[in-house]
């Protein structure tokens, strides 16, 4: 329980914390000096009278000035910038054109990278996997330990562990730390799962299987019965 100094009335001429905050008297004498709250919220200043006087004084309190729009406390008006000159407009358009040119080059380079990555991936698949990739943007493979995985074309959360019934039992996410195209990501995942599965599972984060569709039954049967 707070002490008397927090809430109770005056026992001495020194006001409690609460009273000093909210009351209009600072002492038991007749002099009136406004408390912080009163200064904030009320529209008066100190008066020499013994009673509370809600008079509008020449110097208003913070809140009243804030809310009444008195010029003294009104935020400074910020005028809008001057209209763009012809030179500024030309410079702005030049910057935009240079940016657009750089973007075109970057996108063209990215398209080449994607094409190379896709060609690399195709070269590392068998005929059945190529057909699956073309149809579903995904293919099945048998890992080093004999498990079946579905690799979907993508970068993150694209490795599904599949059970014998074709259901997704786990989803893994591990990808190259470099921003390589998706084709290269899938190549990396395939190579690791087939030759370094333990290392892949150690690195990969495991995610929920919610919403993952089961595997195409025909493709699964083909893989299960492959020589």
């Amino acid at each position: 329980m707070p002490t008397d100094n927090w809430t109770t009335g005056y026992a001495t001429t020194s006001a409690s914390t609460w009273q000093a905050w909210t009351s209009i008297t600072s002492s038991a004498t007749t002099s009136i000096t406004a408390s912080p709250w009163v200064h904030w919220a009320s529209n008066y200043t100190a008066s020499t009278t013994a009673t509370y006087a809600n008079t509008i004084a020449a110097t208003n309190t913070t809140w009243s000035l804030w809310s009444s729009g008195v010029q003294t406390y009104r935020p400074a008006y910020v005028s809008p910038p001057p209209p763009e000159t012809e030179e500024q407009r030309a410079a702005r358009r030049e910057r935009a054109a240079a940016y657009e040119a750089r973007e075109q080059i970057r996108k063209a380079a990215r398209r080449v990278a994607i094409s190379k990555a896709d060609a690399l991936l195709e070269s590392l698949l068998d005929d059945m996997q190529r057909a699956q990739l073309a149809q579903d943007s995904a293919f099945l493979l048998r890992s080093q330990s004999g498990k079946i995985y579905r690799l979907r074309k993508g970068r993150s959360g694209n490795v599904d562990e599949i059970d014998a019934e074709g259901r997704v039992v786990a989803v893994y996410c591990a990808h190259p730390a470099l921003d390589v195209p998706d084709g290269d990501t899938v190549v990396a995942q395939k190579l690791m799962l087939e030759a370094d599965e333990a290392a892949f599972l150690k690195i990969a984060n495991r995610h929920t299987t919610y919403g993952r569709p089961p595997v195409n039954r025909e493709a699964l049967e083909a893989l299960l019965h492959a020589p």
Binding site: A117, C173, A177, V187, A188, L191, E194, A195
Partner: protein, 89 residues
């Protein structure tokens, strides 16, 4: 360099390094019978695997055969794919 060109190089006895990168894989074709090229290939292998921590896999065949991890440089490796360090996502 197309995949067909790579296949032709391999069938003529050359070796190929394919190192993944942001701009697609960088292919290096070298002659295992040329000492200078072998030494340069060895340096590239060491740089990628030891310094940049790439994983090297020897790949053979054309029907999706599993790759074989390579920890040590071999001049007779044939086709080698270098995979960047992996990160969980």
């Amino acid at each position: 360099m197309t995949e067909q060109q790579i296949a032709d190089a391999l069938s003529s006895g050359k070796a190929v390094f394919e190192a993944m990168g942001v701009e697609g894989d960088v292919k290096t074709v070298w002659d295992p019978n040329n000492a200078v090229e072998v030494e340069e290939a060895r340096r590239q292998f060491e740089r990628l695997t030891k310094e940049q921590r790439f994983r090297a896999y020897r790949v053979t065949g054309t029907q999706g055969e599993a790759g074989e991890p390579m920890k040590v440089f071999e001049a007779a490796a044939g086709r080698v794919i270098f995979v960047p360090p992996m990160a969980g996502g």
